[in-house]
């Protein structure tokens, strides 16, 4: 067994199963990327054979295609539609319920979701950045979110540095990738014959200590560094700056908002796949016997009519105003609220937009200096 001072080492490809075994031994349920319904999704892993071997993904505006090749790599793709968001901020969940007695008395009960310790394999740098933002939103506040918190505190994160960004990726320009720098328990660099494993936390050290790691050679380190440099070079998209707050709010009446609105379907796909979007609506489901009622929340989107409704009036009745709200908040208001932009450059909103609206292009058009 390696001594405790070793914070990194090389794990031969065929030994990856040991990582899953070690995690299971610590009581973690393992979740990882797997191909389902034509996309990479996070699902329970029974073993390494569930991981997407030889899978490559083509993403472009309005398009996401899974391709299979002869390669042996397991993480040779950028991302799927889901980030970590659904694992922590559930798409729909019960918040509380109330029982009404025959004489009309109400008894309220808060619900705490059941949650098991969960390890996620194959987390991307962009998604770790998004997680940090969602932590700020849901937990670093006066009244922290219980449902999110219960799951978050039981999460073990195994990041894998990105070596093949999609055409839609722009994490270099937001400063969030392609390599994970913090926020993980373990991080892997995938090489042809195995992984460089490095720990980022005390819990990570515990798992690392159980793996039969070999010393990392200089050649292996160089290969990982080259792969990262290549992943940086592969990105062609970028936002025109890290802080666009003032430029966006100075251009609220720019004609390009209307131009986007002629294409945007206001469907909310972008907000669903966005790893930082946090809006939810609350809704009520009374039981048929009228003796109890359940109060849920489910993901909402600022692209819906109901999102800005107040007593008979809709603040944002049209698509121009909704797209402008989304973007001025994501890239503007977030700086004041959370200390940085709400965009981590994952590119999901570009790929999953049914009409291929490209946030990098729209923002560039809106913030470009007048000619």
């Amino acid at each position: 067994m390696p001594n405790d001072n070793i914070a990194s080492g090389f794990l031969p490809g065929q030994d990856l199963a040991l990582l899953l075994t070690a995690l299971a031994g610590q009581g973690y349920r393992c979740i990882g990327p797997t191909v389902r319904d034509g996309a990479l999704v996070y699902d329970s892993l029974d073993g390494v054979e569930d991981l997407p071997s030889g899978v490559h993904i083509q993403q472009s505006p309005g398009s996401y295609r899974v391709e299979f090749n002869q390669g042996k790599r397991l993480f040779d793709w950028a991302n799927g539609p889901q980030a970590l968001k659904p694992l922590l901020f559930a798409p729909r969940e019960l918040l509380w319920q109330v029982e009404r007695s025959a004489d009309g008395q109400l008894r309220f009960t808060q619900q705490t979701p059941e949650s098991a310790p969960t390890a996620v394999i194959g987390v991307r740098a962009c998604d770790l950045a998004a997680l940090e933002l969602q932590d700020r939103h849901f937990l670093e506040t006066e009244i922290p979110d219980n449902c999110y918190g219960v799951r978050r505190h039981q999460l073990f994160l195994v990041a894998v540095n990105c070596t093949r960004p999609a055409e839609t990726c722009f994490c270099v320009s937001t400063g969030d990738g392609p390599s994970a720098r913090h926020g993980y328990d373990l991080v892997l660099d995938e090489l042809d014959d195995g992984f460089i494993v490095q720990s980022g936390s005390a819990r990570g050290n515990e798992i690392l200590a159980q793996l039969e790691l070999q010393p990392v050679s200089a050649q292996q380190r160089n290969a990982a560094a080259d792969a990262t440099a290549q992943a940086v070079d592969m990105q062609s998209r970028q936002l025109p700056g890290r802080n666009l707050r003032d430029q966006l709010f100075a251009n609220l009446d720019h004609p390009h908002w209307e131009e986007v609105a002629t294409r945007c379907l206001s469907c909310g796909n972008c907000t669903s796949v966005c790893p930082t979007c946090f809006c939810y609506r609350e809704l009520e489901q009374p039981a048929l016997d009228r003796e109890s009622s359940r109060h849920y929340r489910e993901w909402d989107s600022c692209f819906t009519q109901g999102h800005s409704y107040i007593h008979g009036f809709v603040v944002r009745p049209d698509t121009r105003l909704r797209y402008r709200q989304w973007l001025t908040h994501k890239l503007g208001g977030w700086h004041d609220q959370y200390g940085r932009s709400g965009c981590v450059g994952c590119g999901r909103c570009i790929a999953w937009c049914p009409v291929g609206i490209d946030i990098t292009k729209e923002v560039s058009a809106i913030t470009a200096p007048p000619e």
Binding site: V98, R100, G104, Y280, L283, E284, V315, H329, G332, G333
Partner: protein, 278 residues
């Protein structure tokens, strides 16, 4: 026990008052003595009121903070939940959680003259302040109340305005865009009232709520008359569902109205106020 959380506590309707054909007030009492004993609020804050089986709405607390055991909420019958509330009677139980948000700067106002500017029916958040000041009259200077309505028939609590007008060092001015008979006030937008208001702009703290365009226009007049922009405070309204700054519906620029507001210092909100779509 803090009940400004994510889920409600039971409250009983101990009194009900029909203020106008569509506006009514409910006096609520938390049924759990521990919750009731802990409950404190500041005028300008709001509660989330829950109608069994239907849902929640945010409602300002208009009663006096010195009597936190009896919480008065004035509600307009305008939507699914508020209509349901309009059908309830004394003794019925609802859910209550709160108070939420930032209230009016009552301590900062002590020793100052006060101007209240309200429009439409959105006066509930400031009625609590007016009552608060009148019960502690010696702590404040001059009180000027400006109220605008669309139609003179929209004015509720006429007798209260008449009563307020009788108080020392207090002026009440009313304006209606359209007036019926008899109408004791002026005809026109609320800004016409500033010509008749007797106040020292440098000495006055203004508190406003109502339509954003009205607030914007009134603030312009006040600033032109010499008021300091930091002495103008406003109360905002947006869709609120969680009330704890998480669900995102009340997003207003870089703030959550439920948590950072609903009361704002004017410069905090002026940039986007009355800007369509925010």
């Amino acid at each position: 026990m803090n009940i400004a959380t994510h889920y409600p506590h039971e409250a009983e309707i101990i009194e009900r008052c029909q203020e106008s054909p569509t506006i009514f007030s409910l006096v609520l009492q938390l049924t759990d003595p521990a919750a009731a004993g802990q409950y404190r609020f500041t005028p300008g804050q709001f509660n989330m009121l829950y109608l069994y089986g239907v849902g929640e709405i945010p409602i300002s607390i208009v009663s006096d903070p010195a009597r936190p055991g009896q919480l008065i909420h004035t509600i307009r019958d305008v939507g699914r939940v508020s209509h349901g509330f309009s059908q309830l009677r004394v003794g019925d139980r609802i859910g209550l959680r709160g108070p939420y948000g930032r209230g009016w700067p009552l301590e900062r106002m002590e020793g100052r003259d006060i101007m209240i500017v309200t429009g439409g029916l959105g006066c509930a958040p400031v009625v609590s302040v007016i009552n608060y000041i009148l019960r502690r009259r010696e702590r404040y200077g001059r009180l000027v109340i400006l109220q605008g309505v669309k139609h003179s028939n929209d004015l509720i609590w006429r007798e209260r305005y008449a009563e307020w007008e009788q108080q020392d060092n207090t002026q009440v001015l009313l304006a209606a865009d359209a007036g019926g008979e008899p109408w004791p006030g002026f005809i026109g937008p609320i800004t016409v009232l500033f010509e008749h208001a007797r106040f020292n702009p440098q000495q006055t703290i203004a508190m406003m709520c109502g339509p954003e365009r009205m607030i914007h226009a009134s603030a312009d007049v006040l600033i032109e008359r010499g008021s300091r922009i930091e002495d103008i405070w406003i109360s905002m309204e947006r869709n609120m569902q969680c009330a704890v700054g998480q669900c995102g519906h009340c997003q207003f620029g870089a703030s959550f109205v439920c948590r950072n507001g609903p009361v704002y210092r004017y410069p905090e909100a002026s940039e986007l106020l009355a800007k369509r779509g925010f």
